[in-house]
Symmetry: C2
């Protein structure tokens, strides 16, 4: 595990600190994407957070100030881009649970989006960080779709054991904190398309 600032406090943090901890996993993903970009390996970005802008103050023309806006529910996943000619699309989530990942952490339209892009030829997946365990899993969108369907009538979460059986564990690195492309190289790409 890399030297992750909040790790020591994992077991004690309260729910209110979720945003910060989420930010840190997000930072790990973003740093990985920057490494890919800087080394010309892949071009993958986090999308901006969707905002509904209601009111803008234009008095200072050089820096229009948004004075009223609200968060919107995202229609798609947070990350997409291109790697070796493949369209890559994923969502990254963190859980403090030691045993399972609650399905409700992914919106239905995000599940539909992952399924859709996969049907059009994308490599689509989620990355889940079990922060207390310090383990990160890659899970193909086909499983997300199945588990999402299952959650409608049955289990509302994906068990750690299911990640171990059907997902791929991502090893942490220093310069590539969450090197998910290594999973894609190993399990999806036999020979480069381009």
């Amino acid at each position: 595990m890399i030297n992750y600032p909040n790790k020591k406090k994992s077991d004690n943090v309260k729910l209110t600190s979720t945003a910060n901890r989420g930010m840190n996993f997000e930072t790990m993903i973003n740093q990985t994407n920057e490494f890919y970009l800087d080394n010309d390996i892949a071009v993958i970005y986090k999308k901006p957070i969707p905002i509904q802008i209601v009111s803008v103050d234009y008095r200072v023309r050089s820096a229009a100030k948004i004075t009223e806006a609200y968060y919107k529910l995202p229609s798609t996943t947070d990350y997409n881009g291109i790697y070796k000619g493949y369209y890559i699309d994923f969502e990254a989530k963190e859980t403090k649970s030691k045993t399972s990942f609650p399905i409700k952490n992914i919106h239905e339209h995000q599940v539909n989006h992952l399924r859709r892009v996969n049907e059009h030829g994308a490599i689509s997946f989620i990355i889940v960080y079990f922060s207390v365990l310090g383990r990160i899993f890659f899970l193909d969108s086909k499983y997300i779709v199945d588990y999402y369907e299952r959650s409608k009538t049955g289990k509302k979460s994906i068990a750690l054991e299911e990640f171990i059986e059907f997902g791929k564990e991502i090893k942490e690195g220093y310069r590539k904190p969450v090197d998910y492309l290594s999973i894609i190289d190993e399990y999806y790409i036999k020979a480069p398309k381009i």
Copy 2:
């Protein structure tokens, strides 16, 4: 040309209305993307506008109100997605000029982004709407990169004649106002990859 609300006023509008007119071209592109999505042809979205959030009022927890935020310069293009297994990436711009498109309307990092994704196997391009002429052109990112380089020492714009010679004109439609995938079908894709 479709029945485009502001078209008649094209020659008289002042600079201040650019945003609205831009919105209308954006709406045309968004409607096209919705058609593609609804008919399971492609999954292509506009990215949210990047915003730097400074202050949020959480008093009403169900609807956190952003009270201070600023527009950020985008690092990438506005649109990306997947079509027939290809990663698609583009920027859409509008000009009221009848003769040329000013290069300064595209940021340098957007040009770099188009070049980068193209090197990784993307189909990347810009779509330029000459609103007064009612003509829409598709221009491959390779040309954008060249014209951008040229603008550093020479001409600061891409002439309409250059769009006619090196671009592809997009015909307007009713349900697909800007059917840019028809250009991709005709000039990029011989046989589907998937």
